[in-house]
């Protein structure tokens, strides 16, 4: 709908004002990181110089370690989900036997059942598997949480791929596994894209799961680290907390800017197909 109605000037101005108000907290956050201690608690004062001390304090070993952990867990969780859910979604979409139907509904119920109640048994399970306080555990937990949504997404996209493709590949002597990874999986790229674009933020920004299942600072991700920073150093200056918050947000912001165009498209496909 490219030639839809134009907005009136008044409406455009109202929208611009609203948009600026929405951006204000972000701008405020960034401004705070440059305010020297003397004016830090004067909320209406803008920084009058580029005060970089908070960033120097924030950019310590702790930050880079947490950044690395967050990156590992995010990429690990997304990759493992894509790996197992693409296969599962494909199988669920192609087979209509009873067993597959049961798993279809089992996965579907996973989209409704919240994980709050399961946290404690999970904690016990993780302890008995010697997975507590490991990044691998978080990768598994995120994957388990994403499997229902991702499988449905892949199942929906598989429907639009003609069966003849697999049949002809089979006749050519291509096994099921190779057929899937060489022929089908590349065609499911839009599903993969939609999944990454809509769920990368969830892992990166998650606070509760690492808070419960990780306990050493060696393994900690960015969000719980920020909260620990707040709770440990409540009496002292908040400057470094703000600086870490900006730094933790920056990679996502970059990702967002780079993928923004596809994001809207991805959401459309996710909601139409899903």
């Amino acid at each position: 709908m490219n030639d839809s109605k134009r907005a009136s000037l008044g409406m455009e101005i109202a929208l611009i004002i609203a948009a600026l108000l929405f951006m204000l907290p972000v701008l405020y956050l960034v401004a705070m990181t440059f305010k020297e201690p003397g004016i830090f608690y004067k909320p209406l004062k803008l920084p009058d110089q580029l005060y970089l001390e908070y960033y120097k304090q924030a950019l310590g070993v702790e930050f880079f370690r947490s950044l690395w952990n967050t990156l590992l867990i995010t990429i690990g969780g997304l990759s493992l989900t894509i790996f197992v859910a693409s296969m599962a979604g494909y199988a669920l979409s192609r087979r209509k036997e009873r067993g597959f139907q049961i798993f279809f509904y089992l996965f579907m119920s996973g989209m409704i059942i919240p994980t709050v109640g399961s946290l404690i048994p999970l904690f016990k399970l993780a302890t008995s598997l010697h997975l507590i306080n490991t990044r691998l555990l978080l990768v598994f937990l995120y994957t388990a949480g994403f499997i229902p949504f991702a499988s449905f997404l892949y199942a929906a996209f598989t429907k639009s791929i003609p069966r003849e493709l697999e049949e002809s590949a089979n006749i050519d002597g291509c096994g099921s596994v190779r057929t899937f990874w060489v022929i089908i999986f590349p065609l499911l790229l839009p599903a993969t894209g939609t999944f990454i674009l809509t769920n990368a933020y969830g892992i990166w920004n998650d606070f509760l799961t690492p808070l419960i299942f990780l306990n050493s600072s060696e393994k900690m991700t960015l969000m719980p680290m920020i909260v620990q920073f707040i709770f440990n150093k409540q009496s002292t200056n908040f400057g470094p907390v703000f600086a870490i918050s900006v730094l933790a947000m920056l990679p996502l912001l970059l990702f967002f800017i780079l993928t923004q165009k596809h994001m809207l498209k991805g959401l459309v496909m996710g909601s139409v197909k899903g």
Partner: protein, 292 residues
């Protein structure tokens, strides 16, 4: 027949990894939690079976009941205010104008910011000597300044308004996606039939938007029930129990008081609410979609 059998085996093998991870890390703990919810268990030693006691206590515990009330308030606010504002934003963004992509980005920007970072900024802005009160003083509204998060009356309303900062943009983008999926010739046909303005919205836009509406309503209500990060970091449920949510009450019962059996019962109650909401929402919106 043999080929079919081979295909079934292959497909089963495709399903196994996902099914194994899902069952082990999602379903088994969920089933276990149902058992634990009927026991008195502190995490150490064997759980003792106590029947429905935990479930009866949930309704007498002010943390849980206040948390539930707050979640309901937030859900109602979300349905009425957030939903309409998001739709308004989406309809405006669906028009043509120069600054459109800037405005779309601005509205969506808060969505990608974590609740932790949002708490850091807003916690500072809402302090008694923070930005909000300073602005109020500047424009002569000093009389209504408040310790927004430290006051029984304003703590949870402040948190609700805070959630709007992210929720409006998110829902607006879903609505926008829904609006752009409506074929343009439907409007043309309706205009030829003589439909104008509001009746176009009422008879074309709204029914066609129902799938998006159902997604947004669901996300709003479930989001209200599951809200945790903001009250945990900003107020820890206080002052008193004024800003508890059900999720926070469950978390505190489990990890602060080590009352695991009771906490899982709270978790199950929460789960039941979410399941009820999902079913009501699905049947309701599905009927609406059919009406078209």
């Amino acid at each position: 027949m043999n080929l079919k059998r081979k295909q079934v085996v292959a497909a089963s093998l495709f399903l196994v990894p996902a099914a194994a991870i899902f069952l082990l890390f999602f379903y088994v703990p969920f089933i276990q939690s149902i058992y634990y919810s009927f026991t008195d268990w502190s995490g150490i030693g064997a759980p003792t079976f106590i029947g429905w006691d935990n479930y009866l206590h949930v309704w007498k515990d002010p943390h849980m009941t206040e948390g539930l009330k707050n979640s309901l308030k937030m859900a109602i606010f979300g349905l009425l205010v957030q939903n309409s504002l998001a739709l308004l934003v989406a309809i405006s963004l669906n028009r043509q104008f120069r600054t459109r992509s800037f405005i779309r980005t601005a509205f969506y920007l808060p969505v990608i910011i974590s609740l932790v970072v949002a708490s850091v900024v807003w916690g500072q802005m809402l302090q008694f000597d923070g930005f909000i009160n300073a602005v109020l003083n500047q424009i002569g509204l000093g009389a209504i300044t408040e310790d927004w998060l430290g006051n029984v009356k304003t703590s949870f309303p402040s948190i609700i308004l805070l959630t709007q900062w992210q929720a409006i943009g998110y829902c607006a983008i879903i609505y926008l996606a829904g609006l752009q999926a409506i074929p343009k010739d439907m409007y043309e046909a309706a205009e030829i039939e003589g439909a104008r303005g509001f009746s176009l919205f009422r008879y074309i836009t709204l029914p066609m938007l129902m799938p998006a509406v159902s997604i947004v309503l669901f996300l709003t209500v479930v989001g209200a029930l599951k809200l945790f990060d903001l009250p945990y970091i900003l107020t820890n449920g206080g002052p008193g129990t004024s800003s508890y949510t059900l999720f926070l009450a469950v978390y505190n019962a489990a990890f602060k008081e080590n009352n695991y059996g009771y906490a899982t019962a709270g978790g199950i109650v929460l789960a039941i609410f979410i399941v009820i909401v999902s079913i009501v929402q699905l049947t309701f919106t599905r009927r609406k979609e059919v009406e078209l």
